[in-house]
């Protein structure tokens, strides 16, 4: 199972307003960027060339892993507005 296929199994109601905002300046100096590997939904990508961390909030499972493991204060993290975001059907 690769992660791209996994995400397609789960339903999302996408908000145009992101619920996680990354302070990219802080991420440039981060010594671990553990969010990239640890996110269960593979939402974070680090681009070595541009030195930018990017996030795809649209497929976020709202678990909070990044919120807990980011110890640099780079994330402005909240739940999406009511009705938006991940929408589990079965689990």
């Amino acid at each position: 199972m690769n992660i791209e296929n996994l995400q397609q199994l789960t339903q999302f109601q996408i908000d145009e307003q992101p619920h996680i905002i990354v302070n990219k300046e802080i991420c440039k100096t981060c010594d671990h960027r553990a969010c990239v590997q640890s996110c269960p939904a593979n939402c974070y990508t680090w681009d070595e060339e541009t030195k930018l961390l990017s996030i795809v909030y649209e497929t976020c499972l709202e678990c909070g892993t990044c919120y807990i493991i980011c110890d640099k204060g780079a994330l402005d993290w909240s739940y999406p507005r009511g009705g938006y975001g991940v929408c589990f059907r079965l689990t």
């Binding site: 199972m1 296929n5 996994l6 709202e62 909070g64 999406p80 507005r81 009705g83 589990f88």
Partner: protein, 432 residues
């Protein structure tokens, strides 16, 4: 949307909905605020709804009406190495009749049903509402603001049942700082399989279900794997502590993949169709990581209050959540009777928690959270065990040792005497 309620409950999960049911039955004006499109839309767990006396008491025929999958009849604890599995299986006819010891459920279905029971008794359910902040009045908490459907909701009492991350408890100043070493992340893949195939593969009949815990399948991380049977699907996943996930540098879904590819697991899930992928955090810090559970105008219940514990054998949360929801509701009823919503009256909630099995169990296993940080438990010991079993069974024309000598040799080889003694003390303090 500017309404006044006796009680606002944030989160229509098991704690919130059962609290709402209790309050609605007492004739109170209760509003249940849920951020999902429906209750359960944001909720995920491994899969087992434990037997919960307060649920049986409040909804005596619940197992006939609730959307349940299978009752758990078979419990398996499996120690795994990449090539072997040493399992302990417990099957029990006493788990065959009501009140069953536990059922596998789908949270969107079960949580929606439980909330609908509260609505039927008069609770107001507002879905699509994310609680954003607390409303304060006269120095106490007196409501919440919501986003999604925008507005301010006022009440005499707020019950925060908003889950493990509880932003309500944080805003009320009750929460302790989260530590990555006591928070677990669970990820799960739901796999579709025909009912008959599940029954044959797991040796089950009718509604019988199996619950398998795997130790040794989380690479170099502290955690475990799980497998639960539903009627026409199986839930396979794993839980790992966030600090060890971070340190491992691995992606959680890659580790889950290894579990799915394990020779013994592969046979069980052969031909299954992936249906849904989900993730959620678990408060695993035990009693030492609990926040304060009440303040002026507010009580905290369920995962939000850190009411969850594991000792390696039991992993309980949903039953603690529902029980705490009812205890918070009982306290709210009392507070409304006397017309005092301050911490002084709401402290009754903490007293009720302390007297219930919730805090008693969390105290009994207060050292278990520490035991769950023994790195060797998750890789070395399964290897030792598998090594002993292999030597025990392998026939190759070499003189045998007696059992104790064989076990001692294997254990000393992998762990050393000092390690064995120190681990033994920790495990002993946690479980014995």
């Amino acid at each position: 949307m500017a309404k006044y309620y006796d009680v606002i409950i944030v989160g229509a999960g098991p704690a919130g909905s059962l609290a709402a049911l209790k309050l609605a039955r007492a004739g109170l004006n209760v509003c249940l605020v849920e951020r999902g499109k429906y209750p359960g839309a944001k909720n995920m767990f491994g899969g087992l709804l434990h037997n919960t006396p307060v649920l049986n008491e409040m909804l005596p025929d619940f197992w006939e009406r609730a959307p349940l999958e299978r009752h758990v009849y078979k419990k398996v604890l499996a120690f795994m190495t990449p090539e072997s599995a040493v399992s302990l299986t417990f099957e029990n006819e006493n788990f065959e009749q009501p009140p069953y010891n536990g059922h596998t459920v789908f949270r969107p279905a079960f949580d929606s049903w439980l909330a609908s029971e509260a609505v039927r008794e008069g609770a107001l359910l507002l879905t699509d509402c994310t609680a954003e902040d607390l409303v304060r009045k006269d120095g106490r908490i007196a409501g919440v603001t919501v986003k999604g459907r925008e507005g301010k909701l006022r009440s005499n009492i707020v019950i925060a049942a908003d889950g493990v991350l509880s932003f309500m408890a944080e805003k009320a100043g009750l929460r302790k700082e989260f530590k990555a070493k006591v928070i677990g992340v669970g990820i799960k893949l739901l796999l579709g399989l025909p009912e008959d195939t599940i029954n044959e593969r797991f040796h089950l009949v009718r509604d019988e279900g199996a619950d398998i815990s795997f130790v040794g399948t989380t690479a170099n991380m502290r955690g475990g794997g799980f497998l639960y049977t539903n009627r026409e699907s199986i839930s396979v996943g794993m839980v790992v502590h966030l600090d060890s996930l971070k340190a491992s540098g691995k992606a959680p879904y890659d580790v889950l993949d290894e579990l799915l590819l394990h020779p013994q697991v592969r046979k069980l899930i052969k031909g299954a169709v992936p249906l849904e992928y989900s993730a959620h955090l678990i408060p695993e810090g035990g009693i030492k990581a609990m926040p304060r559970v009440y303040t002026d105008g507010m009580m905290v219940a369920g995962d939000a209050a850190g009411l969850c514990y594991t000792n390696g054998i039991n992993l309980e949360g949903i039953n603690l959540a529902m029980t705490s929801g009812v205890l918070a509701a009982e306290t709210a009823i009392k507070a409304l009777e006397v017309g005092d919503y301050t911490a002084r009256t709401l402290s009754l909630y903490k007293k009720k928690l302390d007297e219930s099995f919730i805090i008693k169990d969390m105290k009994t296993f207060k050292n278990a959270a520490g035991m769950m940080h023994l790195e060797r438990l998750f890789q070395t010991y399964p290897q030792v065990l598998a090594g002993i079993m292999e030597k025990l069974y392998r026939v190759e024309g070499v003189p045998r040792s007696k059992l104790l000598r064989l076990a001692r040799k294997e254990a000393l080889k992998e762990v050393g005497l000092k390690g064995l003694v120190s681990d033994g003390i920790k495990i002993g303090r946690a479980l014995l």
